[in-house]
Every structure is written in C-alpha cells, then in structure tokens.
Subunit: 142 residues, 2 copies
C-alpha cells in the first residue's frame, strides 16, 4: 500500500502542482484538507474543502506559473509519506510587496503528506523561505 | 529494523542534542557524517569526521545551551528516517551579528537522517530559518 501512496503523491505533484491542472485536484485530495503546519503559507493552520484547495493552488501558482517541484527522496509510512523536494519557478507575477522580477527563484523543503482512504488529507511542511526572500530581495535591488 | 533506527535516532536527539552530551556522539554517528543539504547551517555540504561533528555540536549549542528538539512525527524507511520536529532555546549566547537577547526562540523543521550499519551517516534538512530571523530581529529591536 505504501508504494501506492508514493505513486499517488508523485502523480499529484506532477499533474496538479507542476502541470497546473487544477481541475484534477479532486482526483487526489480528500474532501477535507488540513494544512497542519506550513509557516509562511497564507493558509497555514486552515482546513480547506476542495474548492478552497483549488483556490489556494490558483493563488500560489500565479506569480510562478511555470513552477515545478522535483522530488529528492520519498519515504512511505503507514498513511503518511515524507518527501524532500527542490522547487524552482520564474517570478513573472506580482507577490504582495514584491513586484515581478523575471528571475528564476529556487527553494528546498520537506513535507509529510497524510492520507485517508488513499486520498491526501493534509500536510506538515517547512520550506526554506529565508532563501527565497534573499533571492527576491537581491533580484528587486539588482 | 526500522523501529530500531527510530529508537537510535530518538536517543541521539535526546542525549546528544537535548542533554548536550557531546562525548556520546560517537555512539550514534558513523565515522563519516555528510551534511547533504542544510541551508543556513555553516557546515552545509561538508563531510565531517567524529571530531568535526563534535565541534559543530559545541558551536551550534553555545548560543542556546538549553535548546531542545521535540519530535512531531517519525517515518522510518530502509536506511532512512524522516522526522518532523519543533525546537526551542533561550538565546543567551552571541551569534555573529546577533548579540544574546535572552529571548526564547522557537523553530520548526524536517530532517531525513541516513544510516549505515545502524549509525547515522548524514542528513538532508530544512528548518524555518526566516521564522528564527524574524524572532531574533524583533527581540534585538524590542
């Protein structure tokens, strides 16, 4: 079953986050998706329904429409999968306080995804947002 | 075997990092410890021998001598264990550019620990260092 969860998660990251196929989200996520911990994410601590999750995807992808997550390691557990990842995207849309810079920004992080009935029901995540802030500030000032 | 790795890791975090028993490090870590990825850590990308690891422990613990890691989740894999954690410490020693503030600082992060022959041979880690920076800056200015 664990391998099955890894395959679901890999397809979710590729289809929904990397390709931006937002309408495919309900295929992967549960009716209730809890963002248990994700410092800096505007939805940190919130529980989203499917429409709320799609809205988060839209808003998160807009400044970086070509963004992509590349998985470094996946460790499957019972109803959980841990993932280490690297992310990159070209900053072509405005972020509050940070107008588009046109620069390629990279980020790394790790996430534990939780599953209920083979669907993703939430996550606990930390990303290196100081690294992102340093790149965005350098780009804005350069 | 995986449960065994979790127990080793829990004892390592408690004994070496939380209690500060630096001389116990060789009981847990391999002769060669690779910091594969740890943005912001001064030893990011380096491979340390046991003395080098003990030196990193000493330097890292000095500004926050009462620091402690509390494990949120552990997911054991084959020769790997993923851990989500919360950390806190009272900032009573100077950090370059950040004199001691006396404030309690908290941080969260995730780590994948790698094992060779039941000993920890390295890690891939991301911590929320922007959160730490914001707390330290607020404390220095408050």
């Amino acid at each position: 079953m664990s391998d099955h969860l890894c395959k679901t998660l890999q397809r979710f990251l590729e289809t929904v986050w990397n390709e931006g196929n937002i309408d495919a989200a309900p295929e992967f996520i549960a009716d209730s998706y809890a963002i248990r911990h994700d410092p800096g994410d505007p939805w940190d601590g919130k529980v989203l329904d499917v429409e709320g999750f799609k809205n988060r995807l839209r808003i998160s992808r807009t400044p970086f429409p070509d963004q992509r997550f590349d998985v470094e390691e996946m460790i499957p557990g019972d109803h959980r999968v841990a993932v280490s990842w690297r992310w990159r995207g070209i900053h072509i849309g405005d972020i509050p306080g940070l107008p588009a810079t046109g620069e390629t920004i990279s980020m790394s992080g790790l996430t534990i995804y939780f599953f209920v009935n083979d669907k993703i029901s939430g996550h606990w995540q930390v990303a290196d947002r100081l690294g992102v802030m340093q790149q965005l500030t350098a780009a804005a000032n350069g």
